[in-house]
């Protein structure tokens, strides 16, 4: 086992081999609709969503060290923005996707005062914000809450399963690519410094609040974009399925399971947890939640740095 991991590590550490493996995997995944059944295509679309959401959360929660427990709200906002723009405004789908990201990003700016807090208090504040916003969406007539004549939004059919497969894969690649690029700028080093020691980071001239805000807005835009892509894929959305707290929890669990604070962690976490989830649904239905929970507890207990840490020296 350890020899296998060591040889995997050697392979992964070689840049050329790493790039070739990445390119090959991407081509194989991109060709999925040509050899996958509709069931597995749909499963992979959910995997793409999960990885993109966990990767986005990882920017603020893992890299900057500010664990947001309200990040699912940006996904819901993206979905609702897209639905409202398309159904009420007849806006083209690509513009509605951009609108979802823009609204989520703009809304994230309202969270900046929460950066006075850290750790448990920050997490609790963001969780409270999630519940507050969810309540507004549930009850506001503009969002077709319970006070109005309807609940939720029906969207027109905007594309085939293959279309949504390639759309979500493309958005996932763009999401991870943008995170990698961002981390290579001074923003990345600033966030790592803030995570390690905020007093030291400030003492070398890093305006910590500004960089935390950049990280937070960045990590909110992508869930907004993904939410906007999710709405027409699901056809019907309501606060129950796009503002659900489980969306936030999944982002966090996937990132932690795979390897918090790393690029590869949410990818590994998204893939493995989705596979475990599907297999336990298929073969051990009554134990599904138990297995899922035990897996997460086991990894957090015995490998707190996540599965990705197995492949690091």
């Amino acid at each position: 086992m350890s020899a296998a991991i060591a040889s995997m590590r050697t392979l992964i550490e070689n840049d050329r081999i790493r790039l070739a493996l990445l390119a090959l995997s991407l081509v194989l995944v991109a060709l999925g609709p040509f050899y996958l059944s509709a069931y597995w295509e749909r499963v992979l679309i959910f995997v793409f969503f999960n990885i993109a959401l966990a990767s986005s959360w990882n920017v603020i929660g893992g890299i900057a060290g500010y664990p947001s427990f309200g990040h699912g709200v940006f996904f819901g906002m993206g979905a609702y923005t897209c639905a409202i723009l398309i159904v009420r405004g007849g806006v083209p789908f690509p513009l509605a996707i951009l609108g979802g990201g823009a609204v989520a990003g703009a809304f994230a700016l309202l969270f900046i005062p929460l950066f006075r807090q850290r750790g448990f208090y920050f997490a609790l504040s963001t969780l409270a914000a999630q519940f507050a916003i969810e309540t507004v969406v549930r009850t506001w007539s503009f969002t077709r809450g319970l006070q109005s004549f309807d609940q939720g939004w029906n969207l027109p059919d905007l594309g085939s399963l293959d279309f949504f497969y390639w759309l979500t894969l493309g958005l996932l690649v763009a999401c991870i690519g943008s995170i990698i690029l961002m981390l290579r700028t001074r923003v990345g080093l600033a966030l790592r410094a803030i995570h390690k020691d905020e007093v030291v980071a400030a003492s070398v001239g890093i305006p910590c609040t500004r960089y935390k805000a950049i990280a937070f807005v960045f990590s909110a835009v992508w869930p907004g974009v993904m939410g906007a892509a999710y709405a027409p894929f699901l056809v019907f959305i309501s606060s129950d399925n796009v503002f659900n707290i489980s969306i936030t929890l999944n982002m966090i669990l996937i990132a932690i399971f795979g390897g918090i604070g790393t690029i590869i962690g949410p990818i590994i976490g998204g893939l493995l947890l989705s596979i475990i989830d599907r297999l336990s649904w298929a073969y051990l239905l009554q134990y599904h939640t138990l297995i899922y929970g035990l897996m997460i507890i086991a990894v957090i207990s015995f490998r707190p740095a996540g599965i990705a840490s197995w492949f690091k020296k």
Partner: protein, 244 residues
């Protein structure tokens, strides 16, 4: 010489504890000011007050003619004050070079140089070029201390405050870091040097201030201050001061 830093009647209270009380002193441009005092005298609190980590309860701190009390640490760093920390404050999970580079990247005035060039110069000045790629957990105590100094230097500060930078070092390592500090000072950078090692303080300081219980006990020429009965009383007890 004109004062680059003026601390006037500064106080800091933590609940019922008065850590610093009506403290006033100044630092001249280009000097090395030694700051000594027994444990709990308020030396680190003074650093925290000047660097903006904590806000003074009262008083004024003026750097280069501008009030800085109440400003954020990053603003104070950008204004030209950098510091090292009493306990190792290197950013874990990063190399020695990255620890210095983070300061170069956020330095405002780069003088036509790139952040990489500034980092390389700071590493070379502190004798760290050969170990720049080492992770912080692989560094010796002496190397860690020098990375802290290099990082403070890379910010482009005109005033650097070092907090017990030779603590835990042997004689050779202490001399090495004192040489580095004197080299930095020869570039015109002002230093405040907090230290328990009196030999080190006497070697590099142009002037000395002594704190006791958050107040200024004595200040002046290091040789004179060190012989002051008040200073000996605080350090060794009244029996030794009276015996002189």
């Amino acid at each position: 010489m004109s004062a680059i830093l003026e601390v006037t009647k500064v106080g800091k209270r933590f609940g019922g504890v008065e850590a610093v009380r009506d403290l006033s002193f100044s630092v001249a441009q280009g000097e090395i000011l030694g700051m000594i005092g027994p444990n709990g005298a308020g030396k680190t609190t003074v650093f925290n007050l000047i660097s903006g980590v904590v806000e003074p309860t009262n008083g004024r701190i003026v750097f280069d003619g501008k009030d800085i009390q109440g400003k954020r640490p990053d603003q104070i760093c950008t204004a030209g004050i950098a510091r090292t920390f009493q306990t190792s404050s290197l950013l874990s999970g990063m190399s020695a070079r990255e620890n210095v580079h983070v300061a170069s990247l956020f330095r405002r005035e780069k003088g036509g140089r790139t952040a990489d060039q500034i980092t390389d110069q700071a590493l070379a000045l502190c004798g760290l070029t050969g170990i720049a790629a080492k992770q912080t957990d692989q560094l010796t105590t002496s190397e860690q201390k020098r990375v802290e100094v290099a990082r403070a230097y890379a910010t482009g500060a005109r005033l650097i405050m070092t907090d017990e930078v030779v603590a835990g070092l042997n004689g050779v390592e202490t001399d090495q870091i004192l040489d580095i500090l004197q080299g930095i000072n020869r570039e015109g950078i002002t230093l405040i040097f907090v230290e328990h090692d009196v030999r080190a303080v006497m070697r590099v300081s142009h002037r000395l201030v002594v704190l006791a219980e958050g107040t200024l006990l004595a200040e002046g020429d290091p040789q004179v201050v060190a012989r002051s009965a008040d200073v000996i009383r605080v350090y060794l007890g009244s029996r030794y001061a009276d015996a002189r």
